[in-house]
């Protein structure tokens, strides 16, 4: 090792030297070794080196302000500002102090289709596997699942609150109305899927709709669903009660069942993958729709194979490992393709 550079060094020369400072600030085995050897060769420098080192160490023992308690809050604000940018901020803040979150709404709609209105000047789209929180103009929040999009008007002052959703979303809706007998036009909150209109009446609910199929699960409170477009006049609208799960497929009528565990519908918002007594087909559908994987079944594997019990994992890899171990089948994941073959 070459120590010639450091032969004439004094206390402040060491403090001015990047390599000396870095062996304390960003230590590594190599750097430590170098300075140990240097001291062996130049014991006369012990005093200067020790003093410089002690100063840096003493100086670095200082208080730290990381502010991690507000990390999420500041992030939410940043998200909100980015979305609201360019939109004039003319809000009645007095009114907002009275508002409470009254409705939690979970929506999913078919991919594709969707119609255009001039008022929809805001569009947010998520990539496969991406989950993003959207703050709507009335401060209602929407958690968008992967491969989904939402459109709405930037400014909701004095107009009906309307959003159009494709894919899957979970809404927490600000409830403006305090007199349920007289609902004003601009107090309404309506979520449009391709097939249905969902009107929030002060409640929390949950909808999934992909491939021209809408599924609406109500968690708490009350919602009204009606058919979108021309069929609206021919078919009556439907009021849902908590735990109700409404399924509508293309042109058919809505069928309503009671759910034992409606909260399972929104586990994805917490980045959880939860399945209960699910078939391979059902799991493959989620991997395809929400994460963008192509799932290929070997001809000797039935897609109807069922995994008894509950799976609750956070990553696709974990999910695949459990399926493979439970059903004794081989699963290989290559980039965006998943192949299921016999062992």
């Amino acid at each position: 090792m070459d120590f010639s550079r450091y032969i004439t060094f004094t206390y402040d020369d060491f403090l001015n030297d990047d390599f000396f400072v870095s062996h304390i600030v960003n230590p590594s085995a190599d750097k430590t070794k170098f300075w140990e050897l240097y001291l062996e060769h130049h014991p006369e420098k012990k005093l200067a080196i020790t003093a410089a080192r002690q100063f840096i160490i003493a100086y670095r023992k200082q208080d730290v302000h990381t502010n991690d308690v507000h990390m999420d809050r500041v992030w939410e604000k940043i998200n909100h500002t980015i979305q609201m940018e360019e939109q004039p901020a003319k809000k009645n803040f007095k009114l907002f102090s009275f508002l409470r979150i009254a409705a939690v709404l979970f929506i999913a709609t078919s991919v594709g289709l969707g119609y255009w209105l001039t008022r929809k000047d805001m569009e947010i789209t998520t990539a496969f596997g991406e989950i993003r929180t959207v703050i709507l103009p009335d401060h209602s929040t929407l958690i968008l699942n992967g491969n989904s999009s939402v459109t709405y008007a930037r400014n909701w002052d004095g107009v009906k609150r309307e959003v159009w959703i494709k894919g899957e979303g979970f809404f927490k809706v600000q409830h403006l109305n305090r007199d349920t007998l007289h609902i004003l036009q601009n107090e309404k909150f309506v979520v449009h899927t391709d097939e249905l209109d969902i009107e929030v009446l002060g409640t929390s609910f949950n909808v999934r709709n992909r491939h021209h199929q809408s599924k609406v699960g109500l968690l708490t409170g009350k919602i009204k669903i009606s058919y979108a477009g021309d069929i609206k006049k021919q078919r009556p609208s439907l009021i849902m009660a908590p735990g109700d799960y409404a399924v509508q497929h293309s042109d058919q009528q809505v069928k309503v069942n009671k759910l034992a565990n409606p909260e399972l519908l929104i586990t994805w918002t917490k980045h959880q993958l939860v399945f209960k007594d699910a078939t391979l087909e059902e799991i493959a559908q989620i991997l395809q729709d929400d994460f963008g994987y192509k799932v290929e079944f070997d001809q000797n594997i039935s897609a109807k194979l069922k995994i008894e019990g509950e799976i609750n994992v956070t990553t696709v890899d974990e999910l695949l490992r459990i399926i493979s171990n439970t059903l004794h089948i081989d699963i290989t994941k290559n980039d965006k393709t998943i192949k299921i073959t016999p062992q």
Binding site: Y59, R60, Q62, D63, H65, T66, M71, V74, W75, T315
Partner: protein, 205 residues
């Protein structure tokens, strides 16, 4: 999802920055996650107004996203963020000062460390800590900041001058002054006594 996000954790800052420039929201999120605490800690040296620091961090990240396509890829993402935060924070603080005292002509900023919550092992260390604290506090804000960037963040003179917007030679001069001031008070010979003592104790064990 977790599966999807985890791949971002291992990416180096500048690659992350390149993805973020392309509009990758995950990359942008990861940049925020990596630097939020560091930025707050740095900002806290200039002001104890926590909300003002949060405002600066907020403004900085909104601006990044809005201007992402026109940004260049910095040599060090952290240094770039430090420089931006510093500029914004000092501007905000200057307008505050003006508002309070309109006659005050100079907008000199403060730079303050705290050692109050540090646990020290023994009396020698306590004495040293006390000395360091005393000396540091007598230095002008700029010198203190250079010392911080140098010995806490481990930055080079070039990097410090870039963040603070001063020339490399004045950075060097200011730090040299700072170290010189400290040397007078710290008394290098006293430090060596501590060192000799500690070696003797080690040898005896």
């Amino acid at each position: 999802m977790a599966d999807n996000l985890s791949k971002y954790v291992t990416i180096v800052d500048t690659e992350l920055w390149a993805s973020f420039k392309e509009g990758d929201w995950h990359a942008y999120t990861e940049i925020y996650n990596r630097h939020f605490k560091l930025l707050n800690n740095y900002g806290y040296k200039f002001t104890k107004d926590v909300e003002l620091i949060e405002d600066s961090v907020h403004d900085l990240f909104v601006k990044l996203w809005t201007n992402k396509s026109s940004l260049s890829v910095p040599v060090s993402v952290k240094n770039y963020l430090y420089k931006s935060l510093r500029g914004d924070l000092l501007r905000k603080l200057a307008t505050h000062v003006k508002f309070v005292n309109i006659d005050e002509d100079h907008h000199d900023f403060m730079f303050e460390l705290s050692f109050d919550h540090q646990i020290v092992a023994n009396e020698e260390e306590l004495a040293l800590q006390k000395n360091v604290k005393q000396v540091i506090q007598t230095l002008p804000a700029r010198q203190q900041e250079i010392i911080y960037l140098r010995f806490y963040e481990g930055l080079s003179y070039e990097e410090i001058s870039e963040i603070m917007g001063i020339t490399v030679s004045s950075t060097y001069k200011l730090l040299y002054k700072g170290i010189g001031n400290m040397q007078d008070v710290l008394d290098v010979s006293k430090l060596s006594v501590i060192w000799v003592l500690s070696m003797m104790i080690k040898g005896a064990l």
